[in-house]
Amino acid sequence: MGKVSKIYTPIAKANCYHCGESCVDEVLHFDEKEFCCSGCKLVYEVLNENDLCAYYEIAEAPGTSLGNSKAKDNRFDYLDDQEIIDRLIDFQNDSEVHITFTIPLIHCASCIWLLENLQKLHSGVVSGRVDFIKKKVQVKYSKGQISLKELVQLLSRIGYEPSLNLADIDKKNALPTNRKLIFKLAVAGFCFGNMMLFSLPEYFAEAELLGQGFKKTFNYLNVLLSLPVFFYVATDYYKSAWLSLKNTAVNMDVPIALGIVTLFFYSLYDIFFLGNEGYMDTLGGLLFFLLIGKYYQQKTYDTLSFDRDYKSYFPVAVTKLVKNEEEVIPLIKLKVGDIIRVRNEELIPADSILLDGDAYIDYSFVTGEEVPVAKKQGELIYSGGRQKGTVLTLTVQKSPSQGYLTDLWNNESFEKEKVNSLENLANKVSGKFTMVVLLIAISALIYWVLQGQVSLGVLTFTSVLIITCPCALAMSTPFTLGNTLRVFGKGKFYLKNSQTIEKIAKVDTVIFDKTGTLTDPNKAKVKYIGELLSDESKQIIKAMVMHSTHALSNRINSYLDKITPVQLQSIDETQGKGLVCQYKSQEFRLGSMEFVGASSNGLPEGGNLVFFAVEDYVLGYFFIQSGLREGIQNVVSEVRQERAVHLLSGDQDHERVNLNNIFGEGISMNFNQGPSDKLAYIKRLNNKGANTMMVGDGLNDAGALRESHVGIAVTDKVTNFSPASDAIMDASVISKLPAFLDFAKTSRSIIKASFGLSFTYNAVGVYFAVQGLVSPVFCAILMPISSISVVIFTTITTNYLAYKRGLKDKIW
């Protein structure tokens, strides 16, 4: 084994052997290889000892830097709790346990290899199996040889710490439901293919040579094959049509069901009583094409979850103090009155009162307050905030599920499923369509009956119903939306389902959350310009800003993070102007230009300025830029052209002026909005008849996202937590939001155009049908041609227009 030595290099040129990042602070040498931190080196040591260095041969520098993180050793203690174990595992018997972990760090082939060779690290592990797309690994281990806690520790030691949160133990995720659709598609394909084969001889004169026996056999086989199609594959259409009729509405499935039933029963009659060939192959083809459309529409994103609640954000365990001894207990066992300990970067798990420690809580994700807030002893701290700084001791006031924040989920909006308005284009059209078709069919029937040709009348009646079965019509929506869904997905705008597109197209009111959505709390920039500040001056400034609750003071406070404040003699704040204090019988001023009396020459623009002066001598100023996301100004102004824009913020309103300058007048801005205020605000807009779209990011927006017609969660990393929503948007593409909104409208136009196309086919079909000229061959040709041409039309136009609008790099 190589010797460990530490060399500090002034110029960092080496790249870490483990994670590939350049070694900035230090270079650790081990085994003739360079590492950027002790975390990376440790992982290498473990792998090296166990002869698993092939890990480094599969992908270059496959690891992920963990930094010199010194996590607590006992943080997985809760995994000893049998109740927790039982809730986490998938399966167990006397000897083996199966468990599935979500590991967000899985990113390359090496990861797969290592996680599937866990048995080489510990003989207790039986096997590991990775699902790369879902970033999950299923581990099987023998019961007596390794405990769950040891397994998780092992994983975190090699750099693959599983993400465990409260939602994991709360319920097991159900299997994806689209399997059923695939089964049906397979049956439809099987039956359709064979029916085509058996029908083929009918279409050629040579078939006569086979004789009547064959013809009959083929027809009966077709009937046999049509049974699974009619009784299994098509069931969803009957159900949907029935439901819609019960609500006295006509959706797209009504004409489809009508067509299917007519096709089936007329074909039975045709085959058994008239001895003809029937339309069974058309029936099979119809269902097959329809299901393909349905399947195409169901684009799912495996790594994303659209229905998370606060449970996915909260940890599984908390550190509880029992007789001054730390004990890690599962969060579900936390009771009111318990004393807990929260460390740096940890989450406050429940509404609690601060007993000890300097609380400096970052609520930006939870309530939208941009700057971390300081809390004093005895103050109530709401759950969900993240502590920045020292260790806190708290006493729990409310159970985690009933806190200020989590109470939101008890709101009625979360009780009911989001109502899926049936008002999409296809359903609107289908009502009229069905009426017109029935009208034509009945008129044809009456006409021929009056002519004295009853059997021809019946034939034309059924022919019209068969030929107008809206296969092409029904395909236009799923394929257009399915394509749009994919275009959006490539643009990092992930929709929950395709109905969302039609909803987006109708949005007339856009509500933005401020913190985290329009602004990026981590991007706020504070810069000091002027004469160099001595350490003492910094300490004085720190003491001054700590006294104030003004947003800019808070910014400077976090800028001077590690400075310890001095004791000031006196301090006085003029609201909105600045601070003045006495220290060592000198007067210090911190505030606006007028307040300190600075000159306005050569000052930078595009941000707030806070001047610092000693005894009327201006030393310099802080330049503070609000961390607006890139291009957000254009987003707001473009969205405003056609839609109303509202702004909701959990923050105080000291940025109102600043935001007004940036976005212009006329945006209704609302500050100090708590989670339930936001929900109520959206509700009011909805009641006024607005089609609302909420764009938010944090847990505090969850209610508003839920209540709005379209809720879009903006997130910096799509695999991270985001609240339940209809769509998830990568924060890097928020500048494209207007383009996405417009494109949703475009896809509506494309659907309308393809409706026109399929109506043309129907008109041609009906022209022949009323004359009684429709034959099975005619059907078998017209039906696929119309469907396929509609699919081709929508696919090409959607992709071409997306390319033209810059939403796609290339057409295909």
Binding site: N50, A54, L121, F132, R157, F183, V187, F190, N194, L210
Partner: protein, 60 residues
């Protein structure tokens, strides 16, 4: 030409069994993850140097 009846029967049975096999594979979850196996197949099954030793619990 009567042989065609037998052929049809065979073809239906054949196609039906393919359908059945597809169903079974589907239920077993063969199509749940169609990315990882593509990577997995590229791993070389190298004999490691210390593989002959009895595996021990080196990590505790």
């Amino acid at each position: 030409m009567e042989v065609i009846f037998i052929l049809i029967a065979i073809s239906l049975i054949l196609a039906g069994s393919f359908l059945y096999l597809f169903f079974r594979a589907m239920k077993d979850g063969q199509f749940d993850d169609n990315h990882t196996p593509a990577i997995r197949i590229l791993f070389e099954n190298k004999q490691s140097k210390i593989d002959k030793k009895v595996p021990t619990n080196k990590i505790k």
